[in-house]
């Protein structure tokens, strides 16, 4: 009898050690890139409205940290709210469309078309609908941006189940709900999570760009637009940095949950 040895689970120390080695090359690239940027800006004497030096941006980040921190929180709340609403509606719609396939087939072309529409163009309109100074207007545009990819991907995950998996459930006299719970939903999780990760980026875009049009002065998007208009480029860049860091943290948080939730997935075998 052939015996497959159990896959050894690395010790915590070994894993940290390995991930440190994995992190060194990109960290070096980052540091080199920033040094190169600093050097070029200084060496070529680039005008500060074209591109401020990283050191100048860093100084502004430090000086304006209270303003930037509260603006970051403000905008992140909008993005998070839009992400939650859009994702929840996307998942629920996908479940309904998976259950009623003919409805799904009728609506799918529109959902896919909507995925290709530059939805951000609607931001001025949602601003007016929900009040330009309200967080809800930015949550709305973020939610719409998030909705379509989450819905389309989840639906794909719910329906791309091997026919024999369904036959097996039928052989156990399982109903629709039980098949959904035990087969379709677990099967859709890898699809869902990749959509949720993309959705974090879309939600941040929706919130920040929505703020460019009209927003409360507390918002990060307002700070970027306003300081650029007033030639305070260091502040604009500092605000962009805050938006970027928040976006990366948001994405990483979802990726972390994904790794925990999909530990069963064959793609995790490399770890």
């Amino acid at each position: 009898m052939s015996v497959v040895a159990p896959v050894p689970r690395g010790t915590l120390g070994a894993r940290v050690g390995r991930s440190a080695i994995d992190w060194i090359p990109p960290a070096m690239v980052l540091v080199l890139g920033i040094l190169l940027w600093e050097g070029l800006v200084r060496g070529l004497d680039v005008q500060r409205f074209l591109l401020p030096a990283p050191s100048a941006i860093l100084d502004t980040l430090r000086e304006e940290r209270d303003l930037l921190w509260s603006a970051g929180i403000y905008t992140f709340t909008e993005a998070l709210g839009g992400w939650v609403i859009g994702s929840a509606l996307g998942v629920l719609s996908a479940i309904v469309l998976a259950r009623f396939r003919s409805l799904g087939r009728a609506l799918m072309p529109f959902a896919i078309a909507a995925n290709a529409v530059p939805i951000i163009a609607f931001a001025p309109i949602t601003n007016q609908w929900f009040g330009p100074l309200e967080k809800t207007s930015k949550m709305a545009i973020a939610a719409i941006l998030v909705f379509f990819p989450v819905m389309v991907n989840t639906l794909r995950g719910l329906t791309s189940v091997r026919p024999q998996s369904i036959e097996l459930m039928r052989s156990y006299a399982a109903g629709e709900i039980e098949t959904l719970r035990r087969v379709r939903i677990p099967n859709s999780l890898p699809f869902l999570f990749s959509a949720l990760k993309v959705a974090t980026v879309l939600a941040m875009i929706g919130a920040v760009v929505g703020e460019y049009f009209l927003s409360s002065q507390e918002a990060l998007g307002f700070q970027i637009r306003n300081s650029a208009a007033l030639f305070q480029f260091e502040l604009a860049w500092a605000a962009i940095t805050v938006a970027s860091v928040l976006g990366i943290l948001f994405y990483s948080a979802v990726a972390l949950v994904e790794r925990r939730a999909l530990r069963w997935h064959p793609s995790s075998r490399s770890e």
Binding site: P6, V7, Q164, E167, L168, S171, Y172, R182, W264
Partner: protein, 274 residues
């Protein structure tokens, strides 16, 4: 003592609307409790369709199917059978133990009872120690053993198997054949087994139902009267080769009955000439 047949099929036909294909034509077949019956035939003879009709996964166009004396539909609702496919069809998100426990969860077994049953099943298919593995960490043969353990976990009186070892290499397949016979004898279940392999059908079965293609019919039934329990010696039994020849002849006859409409006719005439 009268006992209802494990499977009783009368006048069963299946016509697929798509392409208007008559897949099965007036099939009659009885399987008694404790029997091991193989369905063998060329591809497209409807043997997998027949198995799925017994399991009420496909509805017949005409005829009656009784499983344990009940309608096939009722038998499915009562979870009277376990099914094994050519692919193991394990759920990647469940561990080996959880895959085996799936039908038990659905039957509402308590956790304690489930766990001890899963352990018994792991012992039965000789996979103790692998309960925490995920399916993709196992070899094909091991996955199929998990699938068999899952099908047997709730002790269904009937086991339906659709070419379960078709995707395995020859050596694994022989070992799995021996294991299946041991399990069949330990669990006293009834097996309906679909296969492409003549040797496999003769080695395993108490009877082999040979099917012909388009439309699917039963060309004949061969009773396999080799001594039980079977083992490595069975294949060397003087009668073994003879039974294989009988099945092969029926397969050829089934094809010949059907052949006039087929392009392959000259090929088979040539083969007879050789």
């Amino acid at each position: 003592m009268t006992q209802a047949a494990a499977v009783s099929i009368t006048g069963l036909s299946k016509r697929f609307e798509r392409g208007d294909v008559l897949a099965l034509d007036r099939i009659d077949l009885d399987v008694q409790p404790g029997e091991f019956v193989s369905l063998i035939g060329p591809s497209g003879c409807g043997k997998s369709t027949l198995l799925r009709i017994i399991g009420d996964l496909i509805r017949p166009t005409d005829g009656d199917v009784l499983v344990n004396g009940k309608s096939a539909h009722q038998a499915r609702l009562d979870r009277d059978y376990g099914i094994v496919f050519q692919d193991a069809v394990l759920y990647d998100w469940r561990t080996v133990a959880k895959n085996i426990a799936l039908p038990l969860e659905m039957a509402g077994w308590g956790r304690r009872r489930r766990e001890s049953r899963v352990q018994e099943m792991l012992d039965l298919v000789e996979l103790s120690g692998f309960q925490k593995h995920h399916p993709w960490q196992l070899s094909g043969g091991m996955q199929q053993r998990v699938s068999i353990a899952r099908a047997l976990s709730f002790s269904p009186p009937l086991l339906l198997m659709d070419e379960p070892f078709g995707a395995l290499d020859e050596m694994t397949r022989e070992r799995m054949n021996n294991e299946l016979l041991r399990i069949w004898q330990e669990t006293l279940s009834t097996v309906v087994f679909v296969t492409h392999s003549i040797a496999e059908s003769v080695f395993l079965s108490t009877r082999v139902a040979v099917m012909s293609a388009r439309p699917g019919r039963i060309a004949g039934i061969v009773a396999i009267d080799l001594p039980q329990p079977r083992g490595p010696d069975t294949r060397e039994h003087p009668h073994f080769a003879e039974l294989i020849t009988q099945v092969r002849r029926l397969l050829r006859k089934g094809h010949a009955l059907d052949a006039p409409e087929e392009d392959e006719t000259p090929l088979y005439v040539a083969e007879e000439g050789l």
